[in-house]
C-alpha cells in the first residue's frame, strides 16, 4: 500500500516537559516523525509545551504551538487548524493519553480527525488492564495472575486471593508512577492507596509478584497489511522487579537459547497481530529461568524509551518507520536506509553487544530512597557498544559520569558486602563486583540477587583480571585489559605500571546486518581489533570539525544541551564542514545517525575522545554546546594541542577559576557577592564568619548547582564541609555571601569585537533558588531601563574580556539597588533553546558561525540588545518529585527540576498562567464552588514582607490560613485569618490539604 493520499494535514502531539519516565527519547522520535511527514508533503501541526526540543524548531513543522498539553488546548488547536489526521503514538504516554481522551469523547470524530497509526481500539486493548488480559487469554498468551481494583478493599481481597507478595500497577501512568510491591496486607493498604491516587482513572492492577524471573523485551513492528518483524531483543540484567528504565539492559538478549528466544519472539508478534498495532510496539516478558514458562508483563502500543534504545542499538529507525506505516506504507515498501540496499521488512542482526546504564538523580537527592523497584527513578541513560559485555559495561560506567571508570566503587555504608548485596539499589552492580572480587562465589551472589550467573561470570572475569594485574601488568595483560574495556588510566592505576604500551583503538560500523551487506551509514563504536571501518570509510575532502555532546540526561544538564549540540552540527555542515559528533546518550537527536556526517557512540572521556581525534584529525573541536560534560574536557584537549573552536581554553579557565575570575571583575569594577575559595573545614568556618551568615557553599566546576547549599549556621557549614571533604576535592569549595535579591540571566553571543544579547530573563524566585528551578520571565517584567543598560554594558565587558567567541551565559543579582555578577558559564546554557524560540534569534547558528570567524554585524541580527517582542514568555520548571520518595522538594541552590515548559502570552499573567498549566499546576478556577485557600507559614524575618501579600490574597477573596506566629502578624492588618498549628504539632495542615481547602502554600524557613 503506498502513501495514503487522504492524509494532508497531521496534528502531532509531543510529550511535553522532561520528567522521570519520559525524557528526550520522544524528541528523537517526534523529530524523526516530523521529518518523515514533511518529506511526504504533509502539512504538520505540532503541539508541545517543551521549548527545549528539536521537534519544536520551525524547520520541522508548518505550525508549532508551544502550548500546554491539555485536552482543552488541543481541542482549540484542532478547531483552528482543522487537521484531517492525528499522530499520537510518538508523544509518549502524554500524547497517547491525550489522544485517547479526545477520541473517547467523540471530539476527533466530530471534527473529522482520524487517528493514524495504531487506532484507538488497539490502544485500549493494550492499555486497559482488563481488555489486555482478555485479549492475551484469547490468543493463549500467558499473563501473570492479577485483577483490577478501584478501591483499597477490593485490592486487599485480590491480594489475598492470589497470594503475597503482589505488585501494584496503576493504570495509565508513565514510568510506573505510583507502583509498588506489597508483602503484607499492611503494606498493601498503603501501596494500593498511592497507586489509586496516581492513576488518572483511579484504577490499579494487583498482580502476583514474580521475583527472580528474567525480564526480556522485544521491540516489534507491524504494518497495515500484517507484516511483522522483531527489531531487537533486550534483556534486563536485573530480574523482574526493577523497572526496565532503572535496569542495566543489554541488547540483544544474551542468556536465551534459540528455543527461548523464538518462543518469546513469536509471542511478541502474536500479540501485536492480535492487538492490530500499526507501527512500533514494545512487549515485555517475564521468563522463568528454570523452565520454559513465561508471562507477558506489559505492552506499550507506541514508540517508547526502549524503542529509542533499540533504534540506536541496531541502527533501525523505529520512529521513522512507524510514521511511514501511519502514512500507509507497508514494511516491504520502505527502504533500510542504513544499507541502502535491503528493505525495512527485515530483522536487524548485530555483531556487537549493547549495554544501557541508567543515570540516577540520587547525587542530587541524598535523602531520597535509593531502592529501585517498579517506579522508575532514573532521569536518563547512557548506551555503550562493544564486542563483549565487559567492555560495554565499562564504557557505559565511565560514560555515565558517576566518578567511576571501573566497577570499584566506595560502598555507600560500612555494612558487610554480603548484607549490601540484598539492596536492590543503584549501586548493585558495583556491590556484586565487590562481592565477587572479595571471593564470594557466583552461586552465592546469584542466590541473593537472582541476577543470571552469565552476567556475574562476566563481572568475575573483570575481578579476576584486576586481581591478576594488581602487582604487575605484562604487555599481554595490557592488550587483554584493553579488550576488556579498561582505559589506560585505569590499567595504570590498578597495576601501578606507568609506561604502558600503546594499543590503537579501531572503529567498527553499526550496520543493522552484521556486515552481510556493505552499509552506507557512518555510525561507529570503538574496539581493539585489527581492521578499522572508519579509517577506510570514504570521506569528503572537506575539513572536519568534532562536536562533543552532553552525555546522559540528568538534572542540571538536560535535553537543552542536545538541542544546542544538534544545531551546532547542522550549522557547521551548512558552512561546508564534515562534522563528527561524539555522544553516548541513546535518547537524543544528536545520536541519530544522520544528524552529523559521522557519529561516534562513545563515552565522553579524555581517552575515548582522543582516540577518535586520532582517526578524524579534526581542524577543531567544539566544547561549548555539550554542557559541563564537554567543557570538562577543555583542559585535556588544550594540553594535547587540540584546537578548541570558540572561546579558548584560557578564557574558559578564567571563567571557571575563582581567583582568576575575581581578578578580572576587580579590573572592571564589577561587583560580585564577596566570597573566597577554601580547602578545609576550618577555612570554611572562618570565611563564613567573616562574610556573615547566610552564606552560599558550593564546589567549583560543577553543573546544576550540584552540592550547592545556603548555610545559615556554623553547624551547617561544618556538616557540609565534612560531607564534601569526605568525597575528596580537586578544586576549592567556594564560600559566598548570600544575597536574597532579584536574579537575572542573559545569554550573550560575542565575536570578540561585538556582542549580541538576544534577551534578558528575570526570575520570579529570589536569588538562592537555582536558576534552573526558577520561573524565568522574558522580557524582564519589573526592571527599569537603568538596570537593563547596566546589564548590557556589563555583559559586553565580561564577554569581551573572557575572549568569548560564541556563547556565554551570565547570571546577575540585584540586591539593594546594586548589580552583582553571580556566575559566568563560558558555554551554551540551559536557556538557549528557550530564548532562541521566543526571540527567533537562531542563537546556536550564530554562535557557531562566530566561532569560525564570522562577524556579528554581518549576520543580520545586529549587535547589542535584540529588540523586545510584544509578548511575554515564561519558562516554568517541572519536577519529578512524585517519582522520588523521601526526596526533599524544597527548592534551593541545588537544581532539582528535570524539565521545563513554556507559556507564551500577550501579558505576563497570561503567559504565567499558560506556563503553570503546562507544567501541570491546576490553577483554581474562579468558577469553581470551593473558595480557594492559601496557607502562609514564614520565618519571623519575613513577616514584614508577607503582610502585603496576604492582603492581596485577601482582596481576591481567598481564604487565608496561617501558622500561629504568621497568623498573628497578618491579623495585625485586621484581616481574617485562620490560625493553624504547625505541621509538627498537629494534623491540621495535612487535614486541610486532604480536604482540598488549600490551593497554595507560601512558606519560608528551614526544611
Amino acid at each position: 500500500m503506498p502513501l495514503n493520499k487522504d492524509i494532508k494535514k497531521v496534528l502531532m502531539i509531543g510529550s511535553g516537559p522532561i520528567v522521570i519516565g519520559q525524557a528526550a527519547e520522544f524528541d528523537y522520535a517526534g523529530a524523526q516523525a516530523c521529518r518523515v511527514l514533511k518529506k511526504a508533503g504533509v502539512n504538520v501541526v505540532l503541539v508541545n509545551s517543551n521549548p527545549a526540543t528539536i521537534m519544536t524548531d520551525k524547520a520541522l513543522a508548518d505550525e508549532i504551538y508551544l502550548e500546554p498539553l491539555t485536552a482543552e488546548t488541543v481541542k482549540r488547536i484542532i478547531i483552528k487548524e482543522k487537521p484531517d489526521s492525528m499522530l499520537a503514538g510518538l508523544g509518549g504516554q502524554t500524547g497517547l493519553t491525550l489522544a485517547m481522551q479526545l477520541s473517547r469523547e467523540g471530539f476527533l470524530e466530530a471534527h473529522g480527525v482520524k487517528l493514524i497509526g495504531t487506532n484507538a481500539e488497539a490502544i485500549d486493548k493494550a492499555e486497559d488492564r482488563q481488555m489486555f488480559k482478555d485479549t492475551m487469554l484469547s490468543i493463549g498468551e500467558p499473563v501473570i495472575p492479577s485483577d483490577i481494583a478501584e478501591d483499597v478493599d477490593t485490592a486487599l481481597r485480590i491480594a489475598s486471593e492470589i497470594g503475597y507478595p503482589v505488585i501494584i500497577r496503576p493504570a495509565f501512568t508513565l514510568g510506573g508512577t505510583g507502583g509498588g510491591v506489597a508483602y503484607t496486607p499492611e503494606e498493601m493498604r498503603q501501596a494500593a492507596q498511592s497507586g489509586l491516587d496516581a492513576s488518572p482513572i483511579n484504577q490499579i492492577l494487583v498482580e502476583k509478584y514474580i521475583a527472580g524471573w528474567k525480564e526480556i523485551e522485544f521491540e516489534v513492528m507491524r504494518d497495515g497489511i500484517g507484516n511483522v518483524i522483531a527489531v531487537c531483543s533486550m534483556e534486563n540484567v536485573d530480574p523482574v522487579g526493577v523497572h526496565t528504565g532503572d535496569s542495566i539492559v543489554v541488547a540483544p538478549a544474551l542468556t536465551l537459547s534459540n528455543k527461548e528466544y523464538q518462543m518469546l519472539r513469536s509471542a511478541a508478534l502474536n500479540i501485536i497481530n492480535a492487538l492490530g498495532i500499526m507501527g512500533g510496539c514494545n512487549c515485555q516478558f517475564a521468563l522463568d529461568p528454570y523452565s520454559m514458562k513465561y508471562a507477558v508483563i506489559e505492552v506499550n502500543p507506541r514508540v517508547s524509551r526502549s524503542s529509542a534504545l533499540a533504534s540506536k542499538a541496531t541502527g533501525y529507525p523505529i520512529a521513522k518507520v512507524t510514521t511511514q506505516i501511519a502514512l500507509g506504507y507497508t514494511l516491504d515498501e520502505i527502504k533500510n536506509e542504513i544499507t541502502g540496499k535491503t528493505c525495512a521488512c527485515f530483522e536487524p542482526t548485530v555483531d556487537y553487544v549493547v549495554v544501557k546504564f541508567p543515570k540516577w538523580p540520587f547525587d542530587k537527592f541524598n535523602t531520597a530512597r535509593r531502592r529501585l523497584g517498579t517506579q522508575m527513578k532514573a532521569t536518563g541513560e547512557v548506551m555503550a557498544i562493544a564486542p563483549n559485555f565487559e567492555m560495554g559495561l565499562l564504557k557505559a560506567v565511565r560514560g555515565a559520569e558517576i566518578g567511576a571508570d571501573t566497577l570499584n566503587k566506595v560502598p555507600v555504608d560500612d555494612r558487610p558486602v554480603r548484607e549490601r548485596l540484598a539492596d536492590m539499589d543503584d549501586v548493585r552492580i558495583f556491590t556484586c563486583f565487590e562481592a565477587l572480587k572479595s571471593g564470594m562465589s557466583v552461586e552465592e551472589v546469584t542466590s541473593v540477587t537472582r541476577i543470571d550467573p552469565w552476567f556475574l561470570f562476566r563481572l568475575k572475569n573483570l575481578a579476576d583480571f584486576e586481581k591478576k594485574i594488581e602487582n604487575s601488568l605484562s604487555d599481554e595483560d595490557y592488550f587483554r585489559g584493553k579488550r576488556l574495556g579498561y582505559t589506560d588510566k585505569a590499567l595504570s592505576r590498578l597495576s601501578g605500571r606507568k609506561d604502558l604500551p600503546y594499543s590503537e583503538a579501531v572503529y567498527k560500523m553499526v550496520d543493522t546486518c552484521a556486515a552481510e551487506f556493505a552499509a552506507e551509514t557512518p555510525y561507529f563504536y570503538s574496539t581493539y581489533d585489527s581492521v578499522c571501518d572508519s579509517r577506510s570509510f570514504k570521506r569528503s575532502s572537506k575539513p572536519c570539525i568534532m562536536v562533543l555532546g552532553s552525555g546522559p540526561i540528568r538534572i542540571g544538564q538536560g535535553i537543552e544541551f542536545d538541542y544546542s549540540s544538534v544545531h551546532c552540527v547542522w550549522t557547521l555542515r551548512e558552512l561546508g564542514y564534515d562534522v563528527v559528533i561524539v555522544n553516548n546518550n541513546p535518547e537524543t537527536v544528536s545520536t541519530d545517525y544522520d544528524t552529523a556526517d559521522r557519529l561516534y557512540f562513545e563515552p565522553l572521556t579524555p581517552e575515548d575522545v582522543m582516540n577518535i581525534i586520532r582517526v578524524e584529525k579534526p581542524v577543531g573541536v567544539v566544547v561549548a554546546f555539550g554542557g559541563q560534560t564537554a567543557i570538562k574536557l577543555t583542559k585535556f584537549l588544550d594540553e594535547n594541542n587540540i584546537p578548541i573552536l570558540g572561546t579558548s581554553a584560557e578564557g574558559i579557565d578564567i571563567a571557571e577559576d575563582r581567583a582568576r575570575f575575581d581578578a578580572l571583575l576587580e579590573n572592571f569594577g564589577i561587583r560580585r557577592p564577596s566570597g573566597r575559595g577554601v580547602n578545609t573545614l576550618e577555612e570554611a568556618v572562618q570565611a563564613a564568619q567573616e562574610l556573615g551568615y547566610p552564606v552560599l557553599l558550593r564546589p567549583s566546576y560543577v553543573i546544576g548547582g550540584q552540592n550547592m547549599t545556603i548555610s545559615r549556621s556554623r553547624e551547617h557549614t561544618e556538616d557540609y564541609m565534612r560531607r564534601i571533604l569526605a568525597g575528596g576535592i580537586e578544586n576549592p569549595v567556594l564560600v559566598d555571601k548570600y544575597m536574597p535579591g532579584v536574579e537575572l540571566e542573559v545569554d550573550v553571543i560575542s565575536d570578540g569585537d561585538d556582542v549580541l544579547i538576544p534577551g534578558i530573563m528575570e526570575h520570579i524566585e529570589r536569588a538562592g533558588v537555582h536558576s534552573g528551578d526558577s520561573i524565568a520571565v522574558y522580557p524582564p517584567y519589573n526592571l527599569d531601563d537603568r538596570y537593563i543598560e547596566k546589564i548590557c554594558e556589563c555583559s559586553k565587558k565580561l564577554a569581551l574580556a573572557l575572549g568569548t567567541k560564541g556563547l556565554v551565559n551570565i547570571q546577575y543579582l540585584i540586591y539593594q539597588e546594586e548589580l552583582y555578577v553571580i556566575e559566568v558559564n563560558p558555554r551554551a546554557s540551559r536557556t538557549v533553546p528557550y530564548i532562541s524560540k521566543v526571540t527567533r534569534v537562531p542563537m546556536v547558528d550564530i554562535a557557531a558561525q562566530v566561532m569560525l570567524g564570522a562577524k556579528l554585524k554581518d549576520l543580520g541580527c545586529g549587535t547589542g540588545l535584540y529588540r523586545t517582542p510584544p509578548y511575554y514568555a515564561v519558562k516554568v520548571p517541572v519536577f519529578s518529585f512524585e517519582k522520588l520518595s523521601d526526596a526533599n522538594s524544597i527548592l534551593g541552590p541545588e537544581m532539582k527540576s528535570t524539565g521545563e515548559v513554556l507559556g507564551i502570552g500577550k501579558t505576563m499573567p497570561e503567559a504565567l498562567f499558560k506556563g503553570l498549566t503546562a507544567a501541570g499546576f491546576k490553577v483554581p478556577s474562579p468558577r469553581s464552588h470551593k473558595k480557594p485557600g492559601v496557607l502562609i507559614s514564614v520565618e519571623e524575618s519575613d513577616y514584614q514582607e508577607i503582610i502585603s501579600l496576604a492582603k492581596r490574597f485577601y482582596d481576591l477573596g481567598i481564604a487565608l490560613y496561617a501558622t500561629t506566629g504568621t497568623a498573628q502578624a497578618i491579623s495585625t492588618l485586621g484581616i481574617d485569618v485562620i490560625s493553624v498549628k504547625n505541621a509538627g504539632e498537629s494534623d491540621d495542615i495535612p487535614h486541610l490539604m486532604a480536604e482540598g481547602d488549600l490551593s497554595y502554600i507560601v512558606y519560608t524557613g528551614a526544611v
Binding site: 542468556t255 527485515f346 542482526t349 563483549n388 567498527k508 581489533d529
Partner: protein, 357 residues
C-alpha cells in the same frame, strides 16, 4: 591456549587461539548471522564440508543442549570471536569447547570476525584452513572441493517416526541431510514420517503409497545430484511433493530449471521473503549457498522472492501438486513465522485443491 591460524584460499591469514578439537580443518568458509542458534547451526547437516563462522561475537552463552540438535555435526571447523567458558541455562549440559572436542571439530577464536565477514562478502565465499601453522603452499586449500555431500550427510537406513496424536497422513521424507525440525513439524501435524536414504528410487517411494513426499534440505551443489534429480522428476505429479532448501533446488532442476551459486549465500535468521501472491513479507531462517535462477525457472510459478536481493525463494507447481521453498519453515534456529507451510502440505495431502492455497 595455543595460537591457531585461519588461512584463506586467497592467502589472507588471521591469527587467533585454538579451541575444540586439536587438529586441522579444511573447508569452505561461510558466515552465519544468527545471534542465537549456534547449537542448531553446528548440528545442521547442510553445513557439511564447511567451516562456519559466527558474526555474533559471543558464542556458547547457553552451553550445549543435546535436545536441540538438528542432526549430526558435519562442519569442518568453527570460527568465533569469543566462546563462553561459563555457560548459563537450566538446560545446558556442557560447554561448546567440549562439544567441538567430542565431534572432532577444530575451532579458532579471538579473530576479528567482522573483518573476515567483510572479506568474504566482498570477495565471495572461499576455502579456508584452520591450522596451528601457516602452510607453505595454498594449493591444498585452493583445490578443496565439497564432494559426495548428500551421501555423507544423509541416512543410510530407513527409519520411521510416529505421528504425534492421531495419525492422519503417511509421509515419505527423502533425506539429503535432513534437519530434525522437518520431521518434528510433520509429526506434530499427524504425519507418520518414513525417512528414506537419498538413493531411494521413485518406484520404491511410490510403492509404499505415501500421502505426500517431503524432500529435505542438504549440503552441497544441487546439480551434482543427478540421480536424485532423475528420481524427483519421476515423483512429481504422482504424489504431493514439498521440497525444502536442497529439495527445492533439485525440484527446479528436475523440471528443467537452473541453479546458480550465490556470492556468499544466505545464512541466518533474518532473511525477508515476499509471497508474490499475497504481498506479505515473512522473516525466515536460511542456510544456502546455491539458489534457483529466477530467470531459469522452466516449470511452475515463482511464488516467493527474497525481499533484499530478489533471488528465488519458492516455487508453486500447480500442475504437479507440488511446491517448494528455499528457506526453512521448520526454523531451528530462526523464526517460526512460516511454519504454516507444513499445514499447507498437510492440506494438500488431505486432497485440498492446490489452487486454493
Amino acid at each position: 591456549m595455543a595460537k591457531r591460524y585461519l588461512i584463506l584460499a586467497d592467502g589472507s591469514v588471521y591469527e587467533g587461539e585454538g579451541f575444540g578439537a586439536d587438529k586441522n580443518g579444511l573447508g569452505e568458509l561461510v558466515f552465519n548471522t544468527g545471534v542465537v542458534g549456534y547449537i542448531e547451526t553446528l548440528t545442521d547437516p547442510s553445513y557439511y564440508g564447511q567451516i562456519v563462522m559466527q558474526t555474533f561475537p559471543l558464542i556458547g552463552n547457553y552451553g550445549i543442549i543435546e535436545d536441540d540438535f538438528e542432526g549430526r555435526c558435519l562442519v569442518k571447523g568453527y570460527v568465533v570471536r569469543e566462546w563462553c567458558r561459563t555457560p548459563s541455562n537450566f538446560r545446558s549440559q556442557y560447554d561448546i569447547d567440549e562439544f567441538l572436542k567430542k565431534q572432532g571439530v577444530p575451532g579458532i577464536y579471538g579473530v576479528d570476525t567482522r573483518a573476515i565477514t567483510q572479506h568474504i562478502r566482498d570477495k565471495g565465499v572461499m576455502n579456508a584452513l584452520i591450522a596451528d601453522q601457516v602452510p607453505s603452499s595454498l594449493d591444498d586449500i585452493v583445490s578443496y572441493r565439497v564432494k559426495d555431500a548428500v551421501r555423507r550427510a544423509s541416512a543410510e537406513k530407513v527409519s520411521v517416526f510416529p505421528a504425534l496424536g492421531e495419525k492422519k497422513y503417511f509421509v515419505t521424507l527423502v533425506d539429503y541431510g535432513t534437519k530434525q525440525g522437518i520431521i518434528r513439524e510433520l509429526c506434530q501435524r499427524g504425519c507418520e514420517v518414513t525417512v528414506v536414504p537419498p538413493e531411494t528410487t521413485a518406484e520404491e517411494i511410490l510403492s509404499a503409497s505415501p500421502d505426500g513426499v517431503m524432500l529435505s534440505n542438504g549440503p552441497g551443489d544441487p546439480a551434482e545430484n543427478t540421480a536424485c534429480i532423475a528420481e524427483i522428476r519421476k515423483l512429481m505429479g504422482r504424489v504431493p511433493v514439498f521440497g525444502l532448501c536442497l529439495g527445492h533446488q533439485m525440484m527446479a532442476l528436475a523440471t528443467g530449471g537452473k541453479t546458480i551459486k550465490l556470492k556468499y549465500g544466505h545464512r541466518g535468521g533474518n532473511q525477508p521473503v515476499t509471497d508474490l501472491r499475497t504481498g506479505h513479507t515473512y522473516i525466515t531462517s536460511q542456510n544456502h549457498g546455491y539458489a534457483v535462477d529466477v530467470n531459469g525457472i522452466a516449470a511452475g510459478q515463482l511464488r516467493y522472492v527474497n525481499a533484499n536481493d530478489q533471488t528465488c525463494e519458492g516455487i508453486d507447481y500447480p500442475e504437479y501438486c507440488a511446491f517448494s521453498v528455499q528457506f526453512h519453515p521448520e526454523a531451528c534456529a530462526g523464526p517460526r513465522d512460516t511454519s504454516a507451510l507444513f499445514d499447507r502440505f498437510a492440506r494438500m495431502m488431505g486432497g485440498k485443491s492446490f489452487a486454493a492455497e
